[in-house]
Symmetry: C2
Amino acid sequence: MSVRTDILVIGAGIMGMASACHLKKNNPEKKVLVIDRYGAPGQGNTGRSNSMFRNTFSSRDNQVLSNSSIDFYLHLQDELKIDIGMQKIGYLWLMDEGQLSASEPHLRLMERNGIEITRYSRKELKRLLPGMVADFGSSEEAKLIELPTVDGGVFGPKCGRLDPDKLVRFYAREFVSSGGELAFNTEAESLLVGPSKRLGIDGEPFVWQESLVERVATNTGTIEAEVVVLAGGAWENELLEPIGLESHAKAKKRQLFSIRAKGEKLEALLRCKGFNALDLLPLVILPKSGVHFKPVSEEGDFWVACEDQVNRPFIDLPEHDLEKYQAEREYYEKSVYPILTSYFPDFVGSKVRAMWAGLYSYNTIDSTPFAFRHKNLIVVGGDSGSGIMKGDALGRIVDALYREEGEANLYGDVPYATTKIGFDKRDVEKEEWVI
Amino acid sequence: MSVRTDILVIGAGIMGMASACHLKKNNPEKKVLVIDRYGAPGQGNTGRSNSMFRNTFSSRDNQVLSNSSIDFYLHLQDELKIDIGMQKIGYLWLMDEGQLSASEPHLRLMERNGIEITRYSRKELKRLLPGMVADFGSSEEAKLIELPTVDGGVFGPKCGRLDPDKLVRFYAREFVSSGGELAFNTEAESLLVGPSKRLGIDGEPFVWQESLVERVATNTGTIEAEVVVLAGGAWENELLEPIGLESHAKAKKRQLFSIRAKGEKLEALLRCKGFNALDLLPLVILPKSGVHFKPVSEEGDFWVACEDQVNRPFIDLPEHDLEKYQAEREYYEKSVYPILTSYFPDFVGSKVRAMWAGLYSYNTIDSTPFAFRHKNLIVVGGDSGSGIMKGDALGRIVDALYREEGEANLYGDVPYATTKIGFDKRDVEKEEWVI
């Protein structure tokens, strides 16, 4: 196969599909082709994600990117009646006093920027979550684990769940219906660099020539493109490093463990009232090691996860075998379970029903996504585990970069300067409000 | 072998040896051990470098780090009469008008900060360098290569060469004579993480435990250390990634080509007068692709190099075989030679006498070094090709990080806040004055 296209998008995850959709819509005369190594959109790390959304970030950039994307998704679901599985269950952070006071400056900034926040006292939390342990007295295990007490909580109401598969398929449908093309089972193997003006001398491009990404080698042949959009998530550096570019993103494994809400107490916890209009538990973030869990009401399950910050390796990705990065039952049993059951003893004895892992494209500089253009190559990624909730905004930014516009127009007529999210003139705040 | 030490320094290049020397001097009661995979100090990329020094940087941080290190090196050579092969030949940047005016803000900042700079007009340059071509008229080749004209020059007098081998051996001698220990042919294979409080449960450390680098596995056994200093240059990420840390440095190959100063014209160029007290050519940087060359007077050679910014891969380092990263004769012939001979036709017909390559530890964020402490691990590096000229300052910063002091005292009583050169609160300017 040897194909020519105006715009080639590598990756049919949330970033690639949102980008492709906005690109095709705003440049209808251009031939836009999306390739992906899997057989359908969203089958990489998008489909393996916890697929939550929140607008509660400390960095103004993350606030804007997520808030405008969430508004677009709410518009899809509520106004256009396109089911993308959105449930505004909210996020509930449980904290001890030290964490609460350290959070206060971030919370005030969020409120100043119009991000809704509710503060809960310990007393209110105990009423809403009667099964929760807020204080461990002289428990030996709590001392061992050094568990913070629960002295209060922070709740984000414009936060919740969505279905990543449905969202990506929405973008794919829109893209195809506006004339875009999708090629699955097509894996980008390398970016082929050539001189902007070919002289016909063996060994081009030399260092004194301007060089561009001319073509992309895939398992099914070479694709020539005027502009290449790389939306490869955790795999991006594999394509960038060989041409001397750097995305500042590293792959990090994240695991999800599914626990059946068996028994009266866990069922009651799942369907607890008082937090949201759905009468469901919010995503609950415990005060230790980023352990968190959410209700998956349609399946009667909780999904439990843990955002460890250290200790665990970045993953080198010499092969594309996702199976290599499997979830580890022992991680749940020894690292997550002791924390979970200390705060919520109703989980004692619970067993992992299913588990899986995905890869974060972890921006090691500021935990904030990037999108930049280097000549005819546009790179988007580094979403650090919050890509789905910012995907629509980033797709619009990619389109603005393509059209070489200094400002993207995000959903809800929100302007966003495209240079600030690149690296040459990066001007984003480091995200401090991580789980 | 199973060894215990207070401080273990990994790497006996310039960063490791300068750090070890200052650490031992300021903490004489501590056992300090330096290990290196090679059989002598400075045998990795320190010994393979172009080993130049300059204080002419745009970033205030690089100015301070280099200037205080150069002052220390001058003190060694001129006052203590320790030969480290310093030659203040100066750096000469040749530029066209666009480059000159783009440089002006940087130059003014340097001058404001007391960095000496001389500006040369085209006419002065033509007088000093009669063999130089400043304008290419309608030459076909110049048009093809898109060669900028030489409209002026910028000269840094407090810049020049030094001998990296002699410098590193000075530090090694000082270190050993104050009681430090060196173990060569000892290669760090991995950092072994353990819990700060061991509970004796299989699988420690869990995510709810604080974890530290407990030991370092090497080819000759395990070394236990209270504090580990990682000064591994281009190889650092190999040790950091498996424990989930990131240095933001990537390995990039740089090549040096040695050309004999044969014939009257090249000899005259090598020993040209008017730039420095040594009556030698300065390091000359051409206006295109960072091609530069310097005189190696004691051998009657020029060393030619090229600082290409794009096109060339970052190098993945699965093995430690430096031979893998050899210089390429074709790179000289096709990429460097056409530029060199266009500006200095006296090089026409010159042949590569010797060539070699080394690896930059390239800080992809801001081309400025880093030093940070994560619990009991201190990491220094990312010097991006200007590590030797900043080595002494970084060694002193590592020592301040070890003693948990907020400020390092650089040579000449220059204070430097240690947090600003880390990543958590990084506060350095991106370097714009790169070759």
